[in-house]
Symmetry: C2
Subunit: 331 residues, 2 copies
């Protein structure tokens, strides 16, 4: 296994420790509940926002905790939902008079943990709202979901809600806004290679040297179909058609375009994919108003990428432009 | 070859086109000379700063052009120095009354191209200064260098000089500052896997399933030795000792610590390495004042990382903290 690891059981805790050490004034690591939270949370003047999901998708979500983004993330182990009591404890730690918002990617395990965690917190008198993200157009149901999966489009929901919460929006308004952002966001992913969870020590699935998996999930779940490997432009064209036709995005729309690396793909290749997607959107009369190229929601060391579109309006643009600070940054 | 590529010959131009499309108001792509430059360069009130080197190290250097960083980057093809006439043309495009600064990583090919490009520009009456970066402690001479190689420590030289140039520093002062930053910066890298240049289509070198290359160069050049793969902590400890003892960094020093991914390593693993390096520096009484974790100077899809230390003083901290804007970012 070609990975930097000590004890696979300590993969997540050691990573969380590193995040906190690198951000000593802004972030706090609470080992008992496997969580990263803002050092200044909760803030009585804002709704607290949290997300939990399996680890292995970094920077989502433990590295996007910070001002204007999440107040906390309580991850599970690699590709595993967080325990419900961690959801509960994180919710308690974040309890603000304005309430706590749970953002959940649509996976059965995450939904169960958050449903139960929310019920326990509500029994304590904490107000909890929920926003579900299900942006993946690849398949209707999948290995780990009823309904569509939540993937990299999640970033836009978090960015918009994080900004609105800093501006004082209340819990009900945030829930409505989250639903609205999710409703204009669509994604699709594909893989050139498998990925290797540290505890397994071998690839999660097999993919031939001349094969790719179109519509792959972020835990290696099967997608639409396995195809012969082709070139970058043909891959983008197929995925863009699937994403654009789903909402559908139309001539005259302003959009955010995200080309998200799945962990093992160099950023140089992501820009090759971006150039094609931008050109093809322009040919359809769809205007790329904001661009996001990099690793946002990954699958460990998987080579592959996902494409996300968000239909923009003035309010959403302002929220996406608002300042934010997180662990993943270059300066 | 599991890469997103159309025509391998168009790998770099398609990437550069993507960078410019994603940053339409701030960056400009000049296809004739394969260069990315700030849309507002040259600025008569500042020295222009440029770097050229082989491609395949992204985000270095084409994605770190912008305010407070480089004014332009003129890359060569993957792992190849830029042609001298591109260096010359880029220098001309950047010509400012305050002069043009060349930052060069110490490789024989890059030095030749920049030496000749500088002479041609000087013949046109352009003032040119040069800063050489050679931060890699792994080997004294190497496959492509006389003397030490320039690797990820380069980022700190660019960041400091970019900030100082925005504040109006003149060419001589920048050359002195660049030498000073380079003199307190040391790096070492290692590889878990090889990398695949798109034009070659197969791995650059072979590395067994249970092997790692300690001290590897960013073009896959051999390092100190090939060893049996071990755990994350042991790898950090060996590299930290090599880097710390070289300057040497001493008890009481304040440092910047960079854990730089080589392209194919997930950021989760970089934070595991970071946590160990931070702890080991603390045990030596060396204080990590600034942290950098992510992909800064890569080798295509290579799994591996490099560790860089910079000894800080108040002036340098202010320059590293100064605002900057580049293509590689998450918001």
């Amino acid at each position: 296994m070609k990975k930097f690891v000590n004890d696979p059981k300590q993969y997540v805790p050691e990573m969380l420790k590193g995040i906190a050490l690198a951000n000593p004034t802004t972030l706090k690591y609470v080992p008992e509940y496997n969580l990263i939270m803002r050092a200044d949370a909760p803030n009585a003047n804002k709704v607290s926002i949290m997300q939990g999901s399996g680890s292995g998708h970094e920077p989502a979500h433990v590295m996007i905790v910070g001002r204007g983004m999440l107040d906390a993330a309580c991850p599970g182990d690699v590709f595993a939902a967080p325990p419900m009591d961690y959801v509960y404890e994180t919710t308690k730690l974040l309890a603000s008079p304005k309430g706590v918002l749970h953002i959940i990617n649509n996976y059965t395990g995450d939904r169960m943990a958050f449903d139960m965690g929310r019920e326990m917190a509500e029994a304590d008198g904490i107000r909890v709202g929920t926003v579900m993200v299900d942006d993946d157009v690849s398949v209707k149901d999948s290995t780990y979901t009823v309904g569509r999966r939540g993937v990299a489009g999640n970033f836009f929901v978090i960015k918009a809600l994080g900004a609105a919460s800093e501006q004082g929006a209340d819990l009900d308004a945030l829930v409505e806004l989250g639903k609205r952002v999710n409703s204009v966001t669509r994604s699709m992913g594909m893989a050139l290679t498998s990925c290797t969870p540290p505890a397994k020590g071998s690839p999660l699935f097999e993919l031939g040297d001349d094969e790719m998996e179109m519509g792959v999930g972020i835990h290696g779940e099967p997608g639409r179909r396995r195809e012969k490997l082709t070139n970058a432009n043909a891959i983008v064209d197929e995925m863009l058609e699937a994403v654009v036709s789903d909402l559908p995005y139309k001539q005259g729309d302003n959009v955010a375009l995200m080309i998200n690396g799945l962990g093992g793909t160099p950023i140089s290749e992501l820009y090759i994919l971006y150039a094609r997607a931008h050109d093809q959107l322009a040919a359809r009369g769809i205007n790329v108003q904001r661009s996001y190229v990099g690793n946002y929601c990954t699958s460990l060391d998987m080579a592959g990428y996902s494409l996300t579109l968000v239909r923009l309006d003035d309010e959403l643009v302002k929220l996406l432009e608002a300042p934010a600070e997180v662990a993943v940054r270059i300066f």
